[in-house]
Amino acid sequence: MIDEQNAERPAWMAALARASAGEIEALLRVAPPLPPHLVIRGPEIGLTMMRGRAGGDGAAFNLGEATLTRCSVSLADGTLGHCWRLGRDRRAAELAAVLDACLQGDALRDALLAGVIEPLRARQAEAACLTARRAAATEVRFATLATMR
């Protein structure tokens, strides 16, 4: 259930999951200080099975395993923050979980959204755009194959 106030939660969790520990720490240096937290689980590293579908809509198959790091923290008022991210960056997972918890409260939300999440999202959008442009420049269209399906 996503309540009205935290409608943006999936978006900020996604932005945090893609950011490196260094990036988050650099942005936090100019943001208000984070409250103390208690680690509930992790940060721990495991594997997750990535599944794909042939052609995007075929039968699901196991593509391979990827490393995954997860962390859950709790603030003094009981708010829980979670982070699951690809890779093995424990520090980033813990920071992202703390930020997720802080972003759910009113006290820090606006400052953190403006100071941390927006710059991360802008940077990530720019990087995605650059990758897409590089890929588009080398695209080959198999027009005959496409019509045979």
């Binding site: 208690l38 680690v39 509930i40 689980r41 721990e44 859950s72 709790s74 009981g78 829980l80």
Partner: protein
């Protein structure tokens, strides 16, 4: 939400070792003190045993409510079922479910049976029942406070259907003792 194991690997090894020793020597008390800060209603040994045994692939039943129930769901990752008969692992925090209602496995696959963890008020291996059976050279003593009044009848019926049957783990605070389905209990020497 309270934390679970601080070191999931070594703490669950310790829990597994305690459970294995307890099952191998029915009635002998083992200690499990890995969990110190727990939600209300959960005892340290019982919670450690459940975290050790249950994972996302086991069906768990518990009568714990509120924060304790959330804690179990979060830290084990196991699906919680409403009917005791479907569960592979059960944690009774208040009153023990009927042993006859739990999954006893089948004659072909007796290891599919349920394991029931019960929180009792007190556990002592100096006095009480006389236990005999595999893992016990002569006799072991065990006393548990807070089991149902007809527990011994239920237990006799449980041992009678061997190789099927339910295994029991009794927990009080940090103390833990096991009663595998092969252990016979009598009130007299």
């Amino acid at each position: 939400m309270k934390p679970g194991f601080t070191d999931p690997v070594f703490d669950s090894h310790e829990g597994f070792s305690a459970l294995m020793q307890a099952m191998a020597r029915p009635g002998r008390i083992q200690r499990c003190q890995m969990l110190r800060d727990l939600p209300k209603g959960l005892a340290s040994a019982a919670a450690a045993a459940l975290l050790t045994l249950a994972d996302a692939q086991t069906l768990v039943w518990t009568d714990a409510q509120g924060e304790a129930r959330e804690w179990i769901a979060f830290h084990t990752g196991a699906p919680l079922v409403a009917e005791p008969g479907r569960a592979q692992f059960l944690l009774a925090t208040r009153s023990m479910p009927e042993l006859a209602a739990l999954n006893p496995g089948t004659d072909e696959i007796p290891q599919d049976s349920a394991t029931l963890i019960v929180q009792v008020q007190a556990l002592d291996d100096e006095f009480g029942w006389w236990l005999t059976g595999p893992g016990i050279e002569v006799t072991h003593r065990l006393s548990a406070q807070g089991l149902p009044a007809d527990f011994l009848q239920q237990w006799a019926a449980n041992t009678a259907r061997f190789p099927r049957g339910v295994d029991l783990v009794l927990c009080a605070g940090e103390r833990l003792a096991a009663l595998p389905r092969t252990t016979r209990i009598s009130e007299t020497c």
